[in-house]
């Protein structure tokens, strides 16, 4: 009996894959590379992906930062308080702790470099935020002081900086009549980097907080 059920399930999924292949493979989309290349000069950055993420589709990036925050709020809802828990006592080898102590500043510099590099080559806010967040998690695992030192308003400020920066920008650009998240061409480069810094900081702290909130006591 169970073999029939398994075969039926396999057939169902195989049928779905076949339908997917039949409908998607013949498609011939034109792509958006040409319009992006045309508008790249005016976008304030020299790399297509960063321009799309922070300028042409800045709305998607804004909501993505919101999704990160909502996931963290969901994890906070499972805990008794909204404070990040203290690290559980663990036996950490001296070698590991020393190695992480040397690695962390280098990783911080690497994250800052990745953020700056995003203006003209692959890189940007999320890459930098991911490296920084992983560094915070490593620091915590090695017994150093990490994201757990943030409490109260400092924690909330770090968690909300990215979303708030976009919100402020949206309010200013809409009330100035330029539309939602519209960059003034002269200031576009500076504004993009400023937004990226806020997003990177928020992403790093949120990723580390996501990990910390799930730690087993």
């Amino acid at each position: 009996m169970s073999a029939w059920v398994d075969a039926g399930r396999l057939l169902l999924v195989a049928g779905l894959v076949a339908v997917l292949a039949a409908t998607v493979l013949p498609l011939e989309p034109a792509g958006l590379a040409a319009p992006v290349a045309e508008e790249l000069e005016a976008s304030g950055v020299a790399h297509g992906v960063t321009a799309v993420l922070l300028n042409f589709r800045a709305y998607d990036t804004w909501l993505e930062v919101g999704v990160l925050f909502v996931a963290l709020v969901g994890l906070f809802a499972l805990r008794p308080t909204g404070v990040l828990p203290h690290a559980p006592p663990r036996a950490v080898s001296v070698l590991f702790k020393a190695a992480v102590g040397v690695l962390a500043p280098v990783a911080g510099i690497a994250a800052a470099y990745m953020l700056w590099r995003g203006t003209h080559a692959p890189g940007g806010a999320f890459q930098a935020g991911a490296v920084l967040g992983a560094t915070f998690v490593l620091l915590r695992l090695a017994g150093w002081r990490s994201v757990g030192v943030l409490v109260g308003w400092r924690l909330r400020a770090c968690l909300l900086a990215g979303f708030a920066a976009f919100l402020l920008f949206a309010l200013v650009s809409t009330s100035a009549g330029a539309g939602l998240l519209a960059y003034p061409p002269a200031l576009a480069g500076v504004l993009v980097v400023a937004l990226e810094v806020a997003v990177a900081a928020t992403t790093a702290v949120t990723l580390a907080a996501l990990y910390v909130s799930g730690e087993v006591e």
Partner: protein
């Protein structure tokens, strides 16, 4: 049949395998892993679409979509794993009740 079709079909195959795992594996962590593989297969498809025309620079819009998708997948995974940990802490189990009733 160009390279794009190979990548696209691989991504759909991976999607099907992961969907099967997501629907029919009882252990919750396996479901989360299957969800991740489903997401990654879509990213593979998007990057294949971006590099389809072999123009000097690939289409940056699907690249941005993948970056956004990775962050959303990470958020989803973190939340799902937190829920599983809480479920395990409260009940000591890692499968959902309806699945346990049907299990032989």
């Amino acid at each position: 049949m160009e390279l794009f079709h190979l990548y696209a079909f691989c991504s759909m195959l991976l999607f099907g395998i992961a969907l099967h795992g997501f629907l029919f594996q009882p252990h919750l962590v396996r479901k989360v892993l299957a969800l991740n593989v489903m997401g990654t297969s879509i990213f593979l498809f998007l990057i294949a679409v971006a590099h389809r025309d072999r123009t000097p620079s690939p289409d940056p819009v699907p690249h941005a979509l993948v970056l956004t998708g990775i962050v959303v997948a990470v958020s989803l995974t973190a939340f799902a794993l937190g829920l599983i940990l809480k479920l395990h802490k409260e009940t000591g189990r890692t499968t959902l009740p309806s699945v346990r009733r049907e299990a032989p």
